[in-house]
C-alpha cells in the first residue's frame, strides 16, 4: 500500500482521469494503492468516457486483433502491454443440448475454461500485471483460491517477474502443481482463504510486492469487464436477458454488470434490462445468505465446507455490492449444494463437450435454480459464465470420491483388453 504514484509522462492517456473512492468520491492519482486515505473505502479507476468514446467504435473494435486489448480504451492502462499472454476472445457457445436439462429455452455458454492458464482470472491478471510493470514492482503476488495462482504465475513467467502465490495449504493439488509449473514460489498457509488474504494484506504492506488482488486490485478488477464486452460483441452488439456468474468476492459479478453499463453509456449497445444471477456453494454462501435474508450486510463464513474451492471466500470484499446488483436488476444469488454442482459439471461435459471446474457447475445449477424461482422466465436468453477448466478440479465431477484419476470399474471405462479384434469383439458382446 505504499503510495507510489506515477509521474505524468507525455504518453499518459487522457482517458484515465485517475482513481476515485467508490464510497466518498474522493480523487487520488493513479498508484499502487487501493484504499481511500480519507475514508478507507475502495479506490476505483476513473475514466473520461468522452475520450473513450472518441475512438472506441464497433468498427474500430472489429478491425483489431482478438483478445482483451481490443477494448483497451475501457481498461486502465495507457497502452496495451508490449508483452503478455493472449487472453480473452473466448467463444460464446449455444448450449442447445444442455438448456432443456436446466429448464432454459435459450442458453449461451461463455467458455472461459480456455484462457492461457485455463480460467477467467487471466483477464484480471493481464491488466494488473501491465500496471505492475509500470509501477516497477519487484515481484507479482496474489492470495488465491486456486485459479488466480495459475494466472498470476503464468503472467509473471511471461513478464520475467518472480511470482509469490499464497494459497490455503489444503488446496487442490492440481492447482498447486499448475502454479509450480510456471516457476512460481507457492506459499501454503495453514488456514482458510480468508486467513491467506488477511496475511497477504500485511505482506503487501511490508514487501511492496504487487499483489494483483490487493494493492493492484483497482486495476485487476477492471479486467473482468472484458467478459461483458466480449459477450455483447459475440451477440452482435446487444445484451442478453440474464447473465449467470459465480460469486466468490463478488468483484467479477459486479464488474461484468459495469461492463455492460459502460457499453450502453458509449452507445455501443441499446439499454435493455439485464438480470444478474449469482451462484455460490451452499457450504460457503455468505452472499446468497444475505440476499435471501433481504440484507446487504454480509455475515462472514468462518469455515467454508465445500468442494467448490474457487468460490470458498467467507469474507467477500464485494459481497454487499453483489447483493445490491442482484436486487437492483431483478436477479438472485443462488446457493448450490455440492452434489448438484457435480451433476451440472457432468451434464455440461457430456452434453456440450465443455468441461468446467466447480464454479462452472455452480453457475449452471444457479441458472436452473433461478429458472425454478421465476427469476429466469420462459423465452429468456441466458448467458452463463464458465470461468475455469475442469482439469483443475479433477475429482469434483465424482464429488470427491477418488482422486480424479480414471481407474478400472469407473463408469464408462472399459477394462484393459488385449490388442486383438477378437478380444475387442468379446468385450463388446459382453455388454460393453
Amino acid at each position: 500500500m505504499a503510495i507510489e504514484t506515477l509521474p505524468a509522462p507525455a504518453t499518459r492517456s487522457p482517458r484515465i482521469v485517475g482513481m476515485r473512492c467508490r464510497a466518498c468520491g474522493g480523487a487520488q492519482p493513479i498508484g499502487l494503492s487501493y484504499v481511500c486515505p480519507a475514508c478507507f473505502g475502495p479506490l476505483e479507476v476513473d475514466y473520461d468516457y468522452a475520450v473513450v468514446g472518441a475512438t472506441l467504435t464497433r468498427e474500430a473494435i472489429a478491425a483489431r486483433a482478438p483478445g482483451i486489448w481490443r477494448y483497451v480504451e475501457l481498461l486502465p492502462v495507457d497502452q496495451p502491454p508490449t508483452r503478455g499472454l493472449p487472453v480473452g476472445s473466448t467463444p460464446l457457445l449455444a448450449a442447445e443440448r444442455l438448456a432443456p436439462e436446466l429448464g432454459l429455452d435459450r442458453l449461451w455458454i461463455k467458455d472461459d475454461t480456455r484462457n492461457p492458464s485455463l480460467s477467467f482470472k487471466d483477464r484480471a491478471v493481464a491488466v494488473a500485471a501491465a500496471r505492475a510493470v509500470e509501477f516497477g514492482v519487484e515481484a507479482l503476488a496474489c492470495a488465491s483460491t486456486g485459479n488466480l495462482a495459475g494466472a498470476t504465475a503464468a503472467a509473471a513467467a511471461a513478464l520475467g517477474l518472480p511470482a509469490y502465490v499464497f494459497i490455503p495449504a489444503d488446496l487442490e493439488p492440481a492447482k498447486v502443481d499448475h502454479a509450480l509449473a510456471y516457476g512460481a514460489t507457492v506459499v501454503p498457509i495453514e488456514g482458510t482463504y480468508d486467513d491467506v488474504n488477511r496475511l497477504c494484506l500485511e505482506v503487501a504492506d511490508e514487501t511492496g510486492w504487487g499483489f494483483v488482488n490487493i494493492n493492484l486490485r483497482p486495476f485487476y478488477a477492471e479486467g473482468s469487464k472484458t467478459l461483458a464486452y466480449e459477450i455483447a460483441e459475440s451477440l452482435g452488439w446487444r445484451s442478453p436477458d440474464v447473465v449467470v456468474a459465480p460469486v466468490a468476492s463478488g468483484a467479477m459479478f459486479t464488474r461484468v454488470a459495469r461492463g455492460f453499463e459502460e457499453l450502453v453509456e458509449l452507445g455501443l449497445i441499446e439499454r435493455r434490462p439485464i438480470r444478474f444471477v449469482g451462484g455460490q456453494a451452499t457450504g460457503c454462501a455468505p452472499v446468497a445468505t444475505a440476499w435471501a435474508a433481504g440484507t446487504e450486510v454480509i455475515v462472514p463464513v468462518r469455515t467454508p465446507d465445500t468442494i467448490v474451492r474457487s468460490l470458498a471466500i467467507g469474507n467477500p470484499a464485494d459481497g454487499s455490492y453483489a447483493v445490491a446488483l442482484a436486487n437492483g436488476s431483478g436477479g438472485s444469488i443462488e446457493a448450490i449444494d455440492d452434489e448438484v454442482t457435480a451433476v451440472a459439471i457432468r451434464d455440461v461435459a457430456r452434453l456440450e463437450g465443455i468441461y468446467p471446474e466447480t464454479a462452472g457447475g455452480v453457475t449452471l445449477a444457479a441458472a436452473a435454480a433461478a429458472r425454478r424461482r421465476g427469476v429466469i422466465r420462459p423465452g429468456d436468453e441466458v448467458v452463463a459464465l464458465l470461468t475455469g477448466n475442469g482439469l483443475k478440479t479433477p475429482d469434483a465431477r465424482t464429488l470427491g470420491h477418488g482422486d480424479g484419476i480414471a481407474r478400472p470399474g469407473q463408469p464408462g471405462l472399459a477394462p484393459a483388453i488385449r490388442p486383438s479384434l477378437s478380444a475387442f469383439e468379446q468385450w463388446l458382446e459382453s455388454g460393453a
Binding site: M1, A2, I3, A23, S33, Y34, V35, P37, A38, C39, F40, G41, P42, A143, Y193, D194, D195, N197, R198, C200, L201, E202, D205, N213, I214, R217, A248, S249, G250, A251, V299, P300, R302, I313, N315, P316, A317, D318, S320
Partner: protein, 90 residues
C-alpha cells in the same frame, strides 16, 4: 495494554507509527481509545453511529472479530489488534 497494528494508509494520522500501545478491555474500547489518541483516525475508522466503518476489518490475534463477539470482544494484556481494509482479495 494491547498493541494495535496500523496499516500504511492510516500512518499519517499516527505520525508514522506502525503500531500503537492502547488500553481498553474490549475491541470497542481499544478503538475508541485509539481514536482519542489519534483523532485523525476517526473519519477512516468509525461510521457515524460509532461502529467500525464498513470498509474496516478488525482482527484480534489474527481472528476476524466478527467471528468472536465483534466490538464487544474482550481484549487482554498483550493481545494484538490489526485493522485492515475490507476491500481486498477474490
Amino acid at each position: 495494554m494491547s498493541t494495535v497494528r496500523i496499516p500504511p494508509t492510516l500512518r499519517v494520522a499516527t505520525g508514522g507509527a506502525k503500531q500503537v500501545e492502547v488500553p481498553g478491555g474490549t475491541v470497542r474500547e481499544v478503538v475508541t481509545e485509539l481514536v482519542a489518541l489519534h483523532p485523525g483516525l476517526e473519519a477512516q475508522l468509525l461510521a457515524p453511529d460509532g461502529d467500525l466503518n464498513r470498509f474496516v476489518n478488525a482482527f484480534l490475534n489474527d481472528t476476524d472479530v466478527r467471528h468472536l463477539q465483534a466490538l464487544d470482544t474482550p481484549v487482554g494484556e498483550g493481545d494484538t489488534l490489526v485493522l485492515l481494509p475490507a476491500m481486498a482479495g477474490g
